[in-house]
């Protein structure tokens, strides 16, 4: 009898690993091994024809920390994250509350909010190019109605990053709205009725009942928005290419540039490792603190 159990146990183990093997091989090849290889690469100098690459320890990292462009890019990305995360979440929440209330033309409103989500970032950038082009663009034409001078939104360091930020917010707010919309629909009707009986205003109901109940969704969206603030850089290729003077350059774009335009793989690797560390901390926070807090969902 014990023998049978043992055989069954072993058979399950073999099945389990067989079923898992395609995923395990692919994940190893394209996630785990590359992570380790990136770390390894970041410890060596850039090999040239004359001087083969050699072990340099933390030199790539110290070079990076001494590079003013790196700090510029980090600052840009912090501004990018600091602006896109709260603004897109706030807009998404407003959209969801509106799209969930009984307003006329609700179908149109929902569609309009969500449509940017299905467009490629590259296409979105092309659409916005038409807005930003100096002289001909929509923004300048609206400005000229009020007698404002033409502004080169993408060409001057003060505005380029913000022009990029606006496109990102436009792209992701509708996506986040969907999650809020889903959460709103799970709030029981009786809460609204109870609030009405108690004479609470709609504003109070929203602030004291709806928003707290949406908290888990907000945390979930926040993690997504944070990942997006690293990942969403496609529009830079069309709108600014990181310029002018690195004013709108973001970390992932800089990694790409380092590796595939300047062919400096070790520097790119060092930067990748720093990004992975940050993402790892976010993952740690998500899986330990946030997931414990949201269990009542």
């Amino acid at each position: 009898m014990a023998n049978n159990v043992n055989i069954e146990y072993r058979r399950q183990a073999i099945y389990g690993w067989l079923l898992l093997s395609p995923a395990a091989i692919l994940l190893t090849a394209f996630a785990f091994y590359p992570s380790i290889a990136t770390f390894w690469t970041s410890l060596f100098s850039r090999g040239t024809r004359r001087r083969p690459s050699e072990f340099v320890g933390g030199e790539n990292y110290s070079d990076l920390f001494a590079d003013p462009t790196f700090w510029k890019v980090v600052t840009n990305n912090l501004i990018y994250a600091g602006a896109t995360i709260p603004i897109s979440i706030a807009i998404a929440l407003g959209m969801a509350l509106w799209a969930n209330s009984k307003i006329p033309a609700r179908g149109f409103v929902r569609t309009a909010y969500f449509t940017p989500t299905v467009l490629p970032m590259i296409a979105a950038a092309n659409l916005w190019l038409f807005f930003y082009t100096p002289g001909l663009g929509v923004l300048d034409q609206i400005g000229s109605l009020f007698g404002l001078p033409s502004v080169n939104w993408l060409g001057q360091p003060e505005t380029a990053l913000w022009a990029v930020i606006i496109v990102t917010i436009w792209k992701e707010a509708g996506f986040f709205m969907i999650f809020y919309l889903a959460a709103l629909q799970t709030i029981p009707e009786d809460l609204k009725e109870a609030a009405d009986i108690e004479g609470a205003s709609r504003f109070t109901y929203t602030r004291r009942i709806v928003l707290p109940l949406l908290m888990p969704t907000t945390l979930f969206i926040m993690v997504n928005a944070l990942i997006n603030s690293v990942k969403l850089i496609d529009h830079l290729f069309i709108l600014t290419k990181g310029g002018p003077n690195d004013a709108s350059k973001l970390i992932l774009y800089y990694i790409w540039e380092m590796a595939f335009a300047f062919f400096d793989a070790p520097q790119a690797a060092a930067m990748t490792i720093l990004v992975l560390v940050v993402l790892g901390v976010v993952a740690g926070i998500k899986f330990t603190i946030l997931d414990k807090r949201t269990h009542y969902q």
């Binding site: 146990y9 399950q12 183990a13 389990g16 898992l20 395609p22 995923a23 395990a24 091989i25 692919l26 394209f30 996630a31 590359p34 992570s35 290889a37 690469t41 407003g94 509106w98 799209a99 307003i103 149109f108 409103v109 929902r110 569609t111 309009a112 909010y113 940017p116 299905v118 467009l119 490629p120 296409a123 092309n126 659409l127 190019l129 038409f130 001909l136 929509v138 436009w170 996506f175 969907i178 999650f179 889903a182 990942i227 690293v230 990942k231 850089i233 496609d234 290729f237 069309i238 992932l252 990694i255 790409w256 590796a259 793989a265 790119a268 690797a269 990004v275 992975l276 993402l279 993952a283």
Partner: protein, 269 residues
């Protein structure tokens, strides 16, 4: 509840909606007008298809469409196979080390393929898959997100059905194929929609791995076509943009309800 504030709210909602689709509307307008008419916003200006003709002649769009279509299909098939097997293992098979491995898989949610572009490029080249559609698709096939989704779906299948199928003499593959896969159909549909729209729109990785018109997907083709160095005007760019977003956009407008449901299902874990 005063009627006035209600009206203000409705108006703001509509205003935001109009602002939100205006980039698309302007591009649509520009695509069908000459550049000078497009930027002067003369509503009586004649409509034209010339921009589409110029754009169409300017790049091998048909090839790009085909590449994107094939790419999305390859990724989807790969993802279905890999995530079904792995999801089933995590949901219904008890084996040592399962929980540790599951945590490793979840970690991939944060080790983004986008961030590992340098080493993934080396890996794809080493496998001889540089400038192939398979090379573009491979890093996405073992999607941690998909594995997680399938595991959740398979966990919801009543164990009685599993037992019944086994009593009938089904092997594990038969049980998976005849019981679990059909019951998880809504999840597959949701996942497919999310996957297709993600990879239809993906750009950075395909840009790195493809190097010829034979493999380039639409997004990369569009970015090359619209590059400022090429000096094409805004109306032609708009036409090319409308052309390349049209299939997904039309599909979205037609299947809107299913689309939104799919994103919802994929989002709520």
């Amino acid at each position: 509840m005063s009627g006035l504030s209600r009206h203000i709210e409705t108006l703001s909602a509509l205003l935001l909606a109009v602002i939100w689709i205006s980039p698309l509307v302007f591009a649509f307008w520009a695509a069908f007008h000459t550049t000078s008419d497009a930027v002067s916003f003369d509503l009586t200006a004649p409509w034209t298809l010339d921009n589409f003709r110029i754009a169409w002649a300017g790049a091998p769009w048909l090839q790009y469409f085909l590449n994107t279509f094939l790419l999305v299909t390859i990724i989807l098939i790969g993802q279905f196979i890999v995530t079904t097997l792995a999801g089933f293992a995590f949901a219904q098979v008890r084996f040592p080390g399962r929980d540790v491995v599951f945590i490793l898989v979840l970690m991939q949610l944060f080790i983004l393929p986008e961030v590992l572009i340098v080493e993934n490029y080396v890996m794809v080249s080493r496998l001889g898959l540089f400038d192939t559609l398979l090379g573009v698709g491979m890093p996405y096939m073992a999607s941690a997100f998909g594995i997680f989704l399938m595991r959740q779906a398979f966990k919801g299948v009543p164990i009685e059905l599993h037992e019944a199928a086994r009593v009938e003499g089904c092997g594990w593959f038969g049980i998976l194929w005849r019981v679990y896969v059909p019951l998880a159909r809504p999840t597959y549909l949701a996942y497919a929609l999310v996957s297709v729209s993600t990879h239809w729109n993906n750009f950075l990785w395909p840009l790195i791995v493809t190097n010829s018109p034979d493999t380039r997907p639409l997004t990369v083709g569009l970015s090359i076509f619209a590059a400022p160095e090429n000096g094409v005007d805004i109306s032609v760019i708009s036409a090319a943009t409308m052309m390349s977003v049209a299939p997904l956009l039309i599909a979205f407008l037609v299947f809107q309800r299913q689309f939104v449901q799919a994103f919802l299902r994929a989002g709520i874990k």
